[in-house]
């Protein structure tokens, strides 16, 4: 078990090195898609809402509560991290890289688990940080519409605690599952073939 954990630690570090560089998926996709896009959408929506709330007329702008304040963060940030995780998993063993991967990590689950840890932790930290900053900034800069938003309220704290779990949950890592299923199905077939053979012999 310590050897397996050592390999997992190295695999997580290797994923960090793999995603680095000028053509990094973190710079090219995560930064614009998971950080800038939800922040821009949130700011635009808040600016327009605040503007309309101050214009006298038939349009009524309802104040937004804490539970609705980080909608765009939860939507975009988690989805983009999920897509990045799926892409990196799908390309990890592409072409001749598969052989190299099997030499480096003889246990089939090591690479999958390492990517889940790396992108799961990344998604969790990124999402909860953006959500907390948003819940602090919105009531400060847009008090008319977002004045009720409070990071330290029950809803705010619930978000801070549950968003990391939501962002890092394993079923957000879809492309890993066919591989896991493939492994399990092969094992099940071997197991059932072995049982059939044993039953045939024992008759």
């Amino acid at each position: 078990m310590p050897a397996a954990l050592g390999q997992l630690r190295r695999a997580v570090n290797a994923e960090r090195v793999r995603t680095g560089g000028r053509r990094s998926v973190l710079l090219g996709v995560v930064l614009p898609g998971a950080v800038l896009l939800p922040l821009v959408v949130t700011v635009v929506v808040a600016t327009v809402s605040e503007h309309f709330s101050k214009v006298s007329g038939d349009v009524e702008v309802v104040p937004v509560g804490t539970t609705n304040s980080v909608y765009w963060i939860l939507t975009f940030t988690v989805t983009v991290w999920c897509c990045v995780a799926a892409y990196t998993q799908a390309t990890a063993d592409r072409g001749d890289l598969g052989d190299l991967g099997r030499i480096l990590f003889p246990r089939s689950w090591t690479g999958v688990a390492a990517r889940w840890v790396f992108y799961g932790v990344g998604a969790a930290v990124c999402t909860v940080t953006l959500a907390a900053l948003t819940m602090i900034a919105l009531p400060t800069f847009y008090p008319t519409v977002y004045g009720d938003v409070d990071l330290l309220s029950a809803d705010g704290l619930r978000f801070v605690l549950t968003i990391p779990v939501y962002a890092a949950r394993p079923w957000e890592f879809p492309s890993a599952w066919p591989r896991w299923w493939g492994i399990r199905r092969r094992r099940w077939r071997s197991c059932s073939a072995g049982c059939t053979s044993w039953r045939t012999r024992s008759r």
């Binding site: 570090n13 090195v17 793999r18 072409g95 001749d96 890289l97 190299l100 480096l104 246990r107």
Partner: protein, 240 residues
């Protein structure tokens, strides 16, 4: 060279079955330290499958393979046990040469400080910061060989490493193989270039139909034939 491992590969009556077909049948071979052994055979004879089994990628259905005196399976740092270069295209497309080797070093628990040394050893220092997608076949071969040298392993397996190398590259490779053997390492190379086998090989093993049909020193193998090519063709039954 790493530690006090005794370099070598021992293949004992190994059979490999893939997709219901027996690719390798009861193959036995010993690759000793201080020797370059060439694995010869027609296309599809089972050379690459045997190399992949030695690297632990393909499971054997019967027999045993030991590398440096122990089973390689689930070795904590495989690249420090056996340096492998099996494909000229095993790279992440977005990587530069140096990032590929850093990734490999990190994944294998090898000190990344070795990256600069192996890049220099294979003559890729000036191209290290270029994306691998822009590398020629010869440069990709050199990068693959750099990956095999990264772990300073006592045993190396190389699958057709001379393909795509220019004449300078071939001369460099010849020197590298001689240096590796002189350093006491065991090197197993699959190749079809008989001139290089004659120049840099100590032993040859011929695979035909999944079986190892000959295993001898180069001179002993040629003995009684006009050339290495004739000896090989005679061994696989193409000429009499």
């Amino acid at each position: 060279m790493t530690g006090a491992l005794s370099p070598g590969i021992e293949i004992d009556r190994v059979s490999i079955r893939l997709a219901g077909r027996e690719i390798v049948r009861e193959a036995s071979l010993r690759v000793a330290g201080g020797e370059v052994t060439y694995l010869l055979g027609r296309n599809g004879a089972g050379k690459s499958t045997l190399l992949r089994a030695i690297a632990g990628i393909v499971p054997v259905s019967a027999g045993t393979i030991s590398v440096n005196g122990a089973a390689l399976a689930r070795a904590p740092r495989p690249l420090a046990q056996i340096g492998t270069h099996l494909h000229p295209d095993g790279f992440h497309s977005g990587h530069t040469g140096v990032r590929h080797l850093r990734w490999l070093a990190t994944a294998s628990g090898i000190n990344p400080a070795r990256v600069g040394a192996v890049l220099e050893a294979v003559g890729l220092t000036s191209a290290a910061d270029r994306p691998v997608t822009g590398y020629s076949l010869g440069m990709r071969q050199r990068l693959g060989i750099a990956g095999a040298l990264l772990g300073d392993a006592p045993t190396l397996i190389l699958d057709e490493p001379l393909n795509g190398l220019d004449i300078m590259g071939i001369r460099w490779m010849r020197g590298l193989l001689a240096d590796l053997a002189a350093d006491g390492r065991s090197v197993l190379v699959a190749s079809h270039l008989f001139d290089e086998v004659r120049r840099s090989g100590h032993r040859v093993a011929v695979v035909d139909g999944g079986r190892i049909v000959a295993d001898a020193g180069v001179d002993e193998f040629i003995d009684g034939h006009a050339s290495l090519e004739d000896a090989y063709l005679s061994t696989i039954g193409e000429i009499r």
